[in-house]
């Protein structure tokens, strides 16, 4: 046990030495200060609302949560497209003029884009995906994009869950979320 540890130590030290001068080694930019660090490993992840819930199959949900966003597109786009066409076999394009491939390509990399220059909203009729505010009816937006077709008029029974606001008013001051029930 101890021997294995020592071997590992020297193996790491050897790699560090090789890397010296060209690459930083370890997590502290090559500095050799005797600093301790606490390590954490990712369990759950989220960018946009309901992506994992809607587009990822049951056996892949944990995998999706532990795939870094930069690798999600390659790993999940085709499965997302199959899921989209299973949900809506009549899908052609949507209100954003996205083809099935383009739409699922955008969704599979599950990050939320946020504007630092003004209005932040999932969709307010003018601004598209500039953030996510508490009051945004994100589910209806997503339903419109999945089921509504190019002009948002297709399948009206599926494009609005008819729950359009929270059950408690949000606060105008920090922390903005309403007090608990």
């Amino acid at each position: 046990m101890k021997k294995t540890y020592i071997n590992k130590f020297w193996a790491v030290a050897a790699v560090c030495t090789l890397a010296l001068g060209t690459l930083s080694c370890g997590d502290d930019d090559g500095e050799m200060t005797p600093e301790t660090s606490t390590t954490y490993v990712q369990e759950d992840q989220m960018g946009r609302p309901a992506i994992n819930t809607v587009f990822v199959s049951a056996d892949q949900k944990d995998n999706f949560n532990t795939t870094v966003p930069s690798a999600q597109g390659a790993a999940f786009q085709s499965a997302f497209q199959a899921k989209l066409l299973a949900l809506n076999p009549d899908y052609t394009t949507n209100l954003l003029t996205f083809s099935a491939a383009a739409f699922t390509g955008a969704l599979a990399t599950d990050v939320l884009s946020v504007s630092l220059d003004g209005t932040t909203t999932f969709y307010d009729g003018t601004n598209v995906l500039t953030g996510r505010a508490l009051a945004d009816d994100v589910i209806t937006v997503e339903l419109i994009l999945i089921f509504g077709g190019p002009d948002a008029t297709e399948k009206p029974g599926l494009t609005d869950d008819n729950v359009s606001a929270n059950d408690k008013a949000f606060l105008s001051t920090f922390p903005y979320l309403a007090t608990p029930w």
Binding site: N65, V68, S113, T179, W181
Partner: protein, 218 residues
Amino acid sequence: MKRKAVITLGSLALIATVYLFAADHIDAPGVASTSSDITDFYAFQSPETSSNVVFVANLQGLLSPSASASANFDENVMIEFNIDNTGDAIEDLVIQCTFKDGKVYVYGPMSPTRTGLTSSIVSSMTATATANITAYGANATVGTSGAMKVFAGPRDDPFFMDFAQYGEIIAGNATSFNSPGSDTFAGTNVMSVVVEVPKSTVGGSGTINTWVTSNRKQ
């Protein structure tokens, strides 16, 4: 024999619990009903200060009021807000939140010591801001550090959706939503972490890509 009966009852209770929480923002089996289950993520311009941006992570969904009174943040779970400034979906900045002895500690925004599925908090780092975790039923306690603000504690779940009817549609038992719909998340709470920072600390202008992760101490 008696012991076996007790174990069986215990198993049934466990199964019932898992079933009840299966709707839990209904994410993935590995984290459902655990202290690391993220239910929602929000990022928006501060309603109070337009030069600030607000990040919200909600955890542990569908808490009843009585369950909320005893709900806690897990001291072994670190919540990390990730910020990509360069459009490659790799974090350039992180805001890390840990919980200990009734307090939330917020580190950053700062360059991560490493990117990807493993994160570190280095011992020499000092928290940028802290706050006492707000107890259920108490007024919100807000920690500040310069223009930065932090809150952690139970809140009403801001998410709203007729998830039950969506489930019926997906299962083939219904062909449309009801009007009016019924908010499956009405009357339920979450454990929230809210961090507000100056926009200048996360890129200043333009568009950033953001996401939140929960991470367990090794």
